[in-house]
Amino acid sequence: MSDAPRPAGLERRAAMAALLANRKDDLLVVPGLGSTCWDLAAAGDNDRNFYLWGAMGGAAMIGLGLALAQPDKRVLVVTGDGEMLMGMGALATIGIKQPPNLAIVVFDNGHYGETGMQPSHTHNGGVDLLGVARSCGIATCLDVADEVALADLAARLTRLNGTLFARVAIAAADPPRVLPERDGAVLKARFRAAIGV
């Protein structure tokens, strides 16, 4: 654990639950590997979740391919700051395409949670991922630092009409893992069956 003072932030499991509280069948969710994957599993299993156990840096791009293929559904990528940093070029790629049905939400706790909570580049006011997303031309960029903003983000996800990026300030805690199915072929097949492709 880092000895640096932790910035205040939302509790990650509660934040994920709030984003998915009114989930409908037309919401498809892709988490990053690690903590956000466990957060998604903890919020309740769903065939329309595509859990990642690897592919670090790829979550947002999986979301882009899915959003382009399913324009009548909404795609929510929820990933961590470390995973987003590894694939930061994806924000440039997504900024060019601007699919109206894609939301990228980064749970930013400023740490690499899976590897021992080492500080990440966003730690203590370092790299500003919201600024990166803005400069990539993503239409709506939200800074979510409290319950009110989180509720606003959850409401926006139900009526998504433009590419959205949100940085959610998350407290640097490491809750117990909740592990979903880990067979990738099973996850893929059940996801496709659920949406009828």
Partner: protein, 176 residues
């Protein structure tokens, strides 16, 4: 590298193969060898053309496309293969179909020696990544090999790479 002259028709054949295969998403890092194919895809309203910052993005894009019921192809040059290696685990772990079309550098009348190290290991690296390799060295064999790669990928949710030899593309013309 300068774009190949218009008399070369294999890029048109590849476009035809992609259309017959029902490809709806094309991820690419701009590449002179693929310039004409990229132009055709960009002009096609039924294809989402996605310019990537790095080739590994395209592996993830293709996975997302398949999750959503669309077929994708990833276009790159040989140097891009090295950028994909870990992300290829995604295709392997989940058995995502992944079709790659790769223009080769560093193997035939290459002017730039820095292309040689990656170009020389594309074939073994892809084989180790569980990709089936189809190598075209003559224009007349491009289409047939592309069709076989398509069948391998989408018929059985597998990984395949069509390697387009540098002999198909021609020498890079360097001007000062």
């Amino acid at each position: 590298m300068n774009a190949p002259p218009a008399t070369i028709d294999w890029p048109e054949k590849l476009y035809g193969t992609l259309k017959r295969a029902g490809i709806r998403q094309v991820g690419y890092v701009p590449d002179a060898g693929h310039a004409r194919l990229i132009d055709r895809c960009r002009a096609d309203p039924d294809i989402h053309d996605v310019v990537l910052t790095t080739e590994e993005e395209g592996v993830a894009l293709a996975a997302g496309a398949w999750l959503g019921g669309q077929r994708a192809v990833l276009l790159m040059q040989s140097s891009g293969v090295g950028n994909c290696i870990n992300m290829l685990s995604l295709a392997r772990s989940c058995r995502f179909p992944l079709l790659m079309m790769i223009t080769m550098r560093g193997e035939w009348e290459e002017f730039n020696p820095w292309q040689q190290p990656m170009g020389s290991i594309v074939d073994p690296v892809l084989r180790l990544s569980d990709a089936e390799i189809y190598r075209a060295t003559k224009p007349e064999e491009v289409e047939g090999l592309a069709e076989r790669a398509v069948q391998h990928v989408f018929g059985d949710e597998r990984i395949a790479a069509l390697l387009l030899s540098q002999q198909l593309i021609g020498k890079k013309v360097w001007t000062k």
